[in-house]
Symmetry: none
Subunit: 120 residues, 2 copies
Amino acid sequence: MMMSNSLYQDSHCAVDFTLAKLWVDRRAVTLTRKEYELLSALTSNAGEIVPRGVLLRTVWGYGPDIRTRTLDVHIRRLRRKLGGYGEQYIETIFGVGYRFQPWREPKPFAAEPHVLRASA
Amino acid sequence: MMMSNSLYQDSHCAVDFTLAKLWVDRRAVTLTRKEYELLSALTSNAGEIVPRGVLLRTVWGYGPDIRTRTLDVHIRRLRRKLGGYGEQYIETIFGVGYRFQPWREPKPFAAEPHVLRASA
DNA sequence: CTCTTTTTTGCAAATCTTTCACAACTTCCC
DNA sequence: GGGAAGTTGTGAAAGATTTGCAAAAAAGAG
């Protein structure tokens, strides 16, 4: 039985590890076990790259010589369940693995095109 | 004034652990012994997942290697006796167990502003 | 024996996981 | 730029597992 009430949370997304639940913008989303384990592995290292091999080992128990696409499929489903933020949250590090990025507010005045605020 | 030591209660359903009785919308429902024990195990952990293994152990005294469908059968009878709310109250956590959900589950987020920070 | 309660049995149905085939993409090199 | 090679994205379908359920057998109680 689980006991620690640990959860990840930022302004759009919350993960409760004891209830095995995810909320996206206050809307409850149910996760399957593998989805939950994968999300857990990612959020518990939020901001850091988690190599594919590590995920395949910790979530699936696979050895380093197993060829499978199930990780990609689960990543896709997680991204969907994260709503419109999926791509923003789960970043692909090509050739290495994935990284769960905590929510970052929209970039300030970067290389944005000219925005004029009309004053009536 | 008579007092019941332990009882679960929400707006539709009440369980008295000392009297071993259940009321659904003010209407008394008789439970058999096993039904009561199972409901008790669930409501006393209301809102939390109770794994199948735990139920089989605490209610039936079964070990971890027993294969039976009697738990499912009892869950079904309980759901029936909970009237139209059966499905709402007793939630199936696929591959894990069951969870008794208090009526209109409490929201994990605060109503208005929501910046809670959790410990890891 | 009769009635109630509990468990088992055997599928059916629902759910979750993995694979597959191929499209899309990244990187590297010429 | 234009491949080539390797990596990732994706929808659909197969595979595997779990749960729901009805009916009947088994177990108790009076």
